[in-house]
Structure formats: C-alpha cells, structure tokens
C-alpha cells in the first residue's frame, strides 16, 4: 500500500477508477433515467471531442478563461503588493473588498450582460472579477510577510520604492501569490462555466446545460467528466509550474479549492 502510494501519478488514477466504478454500480442499482452508467457517459466523450463544433466551443471557453485570468492576475498582484507594504493603501481597499467579497461574481452576469451584451466581453469580465479577489488577498498576505530588514538594507543601498517592490517584495511574496493564482484558476473555471450557463451562447457551459434541456443525459454526464478533467488537468499543470518557480520555498498548501 505504502509503496503503491509512492509511485507518482498512480493514486489520482486509482481514485478516478474508484469514482467511476462507484458511479457505474450506483447507476446500475438505482436504474433511473437521470443517472446513466459511467460506461454510457464515457462512450460519449470521444464523440464530443471528435466534433469540430464542440472543440471550437471548448477552445472559445478556454480562450475567455485565459484572457480573464491573465488580466485578473496583472491587475490584482500590484494592488495586493501595495496593500501589503502600505497600511494606507490597505485601509483604502479593505472595506471595499469586504463588500465585494460575498457577492458571487456570476450573480453580476445579468447586469453586465445588460451593459456589454452577451458576447465575449461580459464573460471575460466576470472571469476577471472572479480571479482578482483571491489573488489580491494572497499577494497582500505575501507582501505583508516580507522581512523588513531586507527592505531597510535595500533602501540604505539606495534602491527606490518601485525597485524595492519589483526586486524584493515581488519575489519574496511569489510563493503566496502563486497560491492565490491557483485558487484563482479554479475560480476562473467556475465563473467560466457559470457565465456560459447564464448566457447560453457558446462554450462548454452552453453544451452542458443545453444537453440537459434536450434530455441528452449521456452527453450531460460526458460534459461533466470533460469539465472535471479540464479542472484537474489545469490544476495539475499549474501546480507543476508553481513548484518549478518556487522550488526554494517550502510548500505552504498542497491543495486548494475554489468556490462560487
């Protein structure tokens, strides 16, 4: 058991197999229309991934997610770092962030659609909003924890405030920032699906909820598997990148979750 668990990549594969087996058995025992067996759903996956139109939808979703995520990180990291280094900047943003925090970003979708239409702009904006808060929070925490002595030394050697931010605070806070980015990535995926669920135009969320409306249950579950796989793959890829970038720092959390 111990030796099996130490083979990299094997435990998640076993976990997937166990989940699929449980699903298969549960579906056969319950025998209801709304829960096809895992084998029937998985049989649909190649059909969806072989359909050029579905692939275009998935690509459109991922493009919006990438743009929203990149803009969100580019916007949030400087704000978080400045909040961490200046108590006035922190006092300026904190109450506003406290008010925005409990609003599920997807709930803004109807209003944003009213202003920006149902196209890419609305969906990308919602993804952007979903990504910013966790990244701001973690950048803030990371920048707060930077050792004062390093900053004093740098200031004594004549480094300006902006250079101190980019050359000392940013690298020192990087491990914590990347934890925020990982949460942000999961949130980007959630807001991506939710925004497409509401607008029903293109994307994976559109395929998912349209097939639900058309009672194509195998496709519904196949899409859930595809979106779940997407989430797992993106998270694993980001984790690999993160551990390369900050190999010098101790891992602070090895699992993250995001919520709507």
């Amino acid at each position: 058991m111990e030796r099996l668990a130490s083979i990299p990549g094997l435990p998640p594969i076993l976990a997937c197999a166990a989940l699929l087996a449980t699903w298969e058995v549960a579906a056969r025992l319950l025998a209801i229309d709304g829960l096809p067996p895992a084998s029937a759903a998985l049989a649909q996956v190649p059909a969806i991934l072989g359909d050029p139109e579905a692939l275009l939808n998935i690509a459109a979703s991922l493009r919006r997610m990438a743009v929203g995520f990149a803009l969100g990180v580019a916007f949030a990291v400087p704000i978080g770092l400045m909040m961490g280094r200046s108590q006035y900047v922190a006092a300026f943003f904190n109450p506003l962030l406290m008010i925005i925090y409990p609003v599920p970003k997807a709930a803004l979708m109807p209003i944003i659609m009213l202003w920006l239409g149902v196209g890419d702009a609305s969906k990308t904006l919602v993804i952007f909003l979903g990504v910013t808060l966790p990244v701001i929070y973690h950048s803030y925490q990371g920048a707060r924890a930077v050792e004062e002595r390093m900053l004093w030394s740098a200031a004594a050697m004549g480094m300006g405030p902006l250079a101190r931010l980019t050359h000392i605070v940013l690298p020192a806070a990087l491990p914590e920032i990347l934890v925020g980015c990982r949460t942000g990535l999961v949130l980007a995926l959630i807001t991506m699906v939710t925004s497409e669920m509401i607008t029903r135009q293109t994307g994976v969320g559109n395929i998912l909820f349209n097939s639900l409306d058309m009672a194509q249950y195998d496709t519904v579950y196949a899409m859930i598997v595809i979106i779940g796989g997407l989430g797992f793959a993106l998270d694993a890829a980001f984790e690999a990148l993160r551990s390369r970038l900050v190999r010098w720092a101790e891992p602070s959390h090895d699992l993250v979750v995001g919520t709507t």
Binding site: L19, A91, P95, L96, P102, M192, I224, G228, G258, T259
Partner: protein, 207 residues
C-alpha cells in the same frame, strides 16, 4: 495601529465606496445612461428598503438562507468527519488524499445538472450543490488543523430573483438582490467571526 490611526484608516476606507456611489449617482443624474440601464443609487436603496418589508421578498431570502445553512451543516459534518479520520489514520488518508486531489479542482457548478437529474429541481439539488462546494474547504481546513473555515454563499433563492428580474428588464430589481447578498455575506461573516473568537478563547495565535 493606534486609535487615531484606526479612525484615519476607517475614513480612508470610505473614500473608494463613496467615490463609486458618487460616480454612479453622477452618471445616473447626467442622463448619460438611461435609467433602464443604470438606475440612480437612491432609487435602488429605496427599493431595497421597500423589498425588505415585503413578505414575498423575505420569503426568497429565507429560502436562500435555509438552503445555505442546511448545505453548510451537512458539509461541516461530512468535512470534519473525513478530515479527522484522515488525520487519525494513514490508511484513510491514503484513500482520501487522491480523491480530494482529483475532486477539489472540479468546478462544482458543472455537477449541478447531475444533481438536478438525480435529485430534482427543488431544494435537494441546490443543497447538494452547497454541500459539494463547502465540503472540500472544510475538509482541508480540518485536516490542516486550521479553523479558517470560510463562509460559502449560495445564491439560488436570490439568484432566481435576479434572473427573473433581468428577463423582465427591471433593472432596479437586479441591483437589490445583489446588495442583499452582499449584506447577508457581511452579516454572516461578522457572526461567524464572533463565534470563532468565542470558541477560540485561549488560542493566542488566533487573532
């Protein structure tokens, strides 16, 4: 921070909020955006007060809160039980860890159709979504021994109002649920922090 620093901080914090409401009011008053796209803040807040006195609206709020608390309670029981079991036994941890590794990054909203199909359109499927959403952070927090369990907000009751309002283009009614959600979230956060402070008396490392 000293006391006067703190009041200065509070004053600084009001600036961006006042600025946003100010700009909102200015745009609405200038006629740049028609009221059907952006109603004036006063109109929205007046409607909020009026709605909070309306039994039908409070009914929706109650539905949301019921689903939220039911889901959260179930998630706490599941998450804490599994989290403690994983801390206590290497074998359980060996099973739970890879399962969490696979399931945690899955966007839970994608599971919603499956919940609808198996549990129906009513409360059960929405509560199941809250459980799926909340269980993983609680499990991880329990396992990591931290008590930083965050409140998770479900929006179905109010969310339904929001979508209905957007269909009928009553823009004012779209802003009101958002403000209610934000207020609810703030209240829940304050309540939860107070509870946490009471429970953690004697843990000096918890501020």
């Amino acid at each position: 921070m000293t006391r006067s620093d703190r009041s200065v901080g509070a004053l600084i914090g009001i600036i961006p909020i006042a600025l946003i409401i100010g700009v909102w009011q200015a745009i609405a008053a200038s006629g740049l955006a028609p009221p059907s796209l952006l109603p004036a803040p006063a109109a929205v807040f007046a409607r909020l007060v009026q709605q909070l006195g309306s039994p039908a609206y409070l009914d929706h709020v109650a539905t949301t809160l019921f689903r939220l608390f039911a889901g959260f309670a179930i998630a706490v029981v599941i998450g804490v039980t599994i989290g403690l079991a994983a801390t206590g036994s290497r074998a359980v941890e060996g099973v739970v860890r890879p399962l969490v590794r696979v399931l945690a990054p899955v966007p839970k909203i994608a599971l919603y159709p499956a919940f609808i199909l198996t549990l129906g359109f009513e409360n059960a499927s929405k509560i199941a979504l809250v459980v799926a959403d909340a269980a993983f952070p609680i499990l991880l927090a329990t396992h990591q021994g931290t008590s930083a369990v965050e409140m998770i907000i479900s929006t179905d009751g109010l969310g339904h109002l929001l979508v209905r309002a957007s269909r009928s283009f009553q823009t004012i009614d779209m802003f009101v649920p958002l403000i209610t959600i934000s207020l609810l979230g703030l209240l829940l956060n304050v309540g939860f922090n107070a509870l946490r402070a009471r429970l953690l008396i004697g843990f000096p490392e918890e501020r």
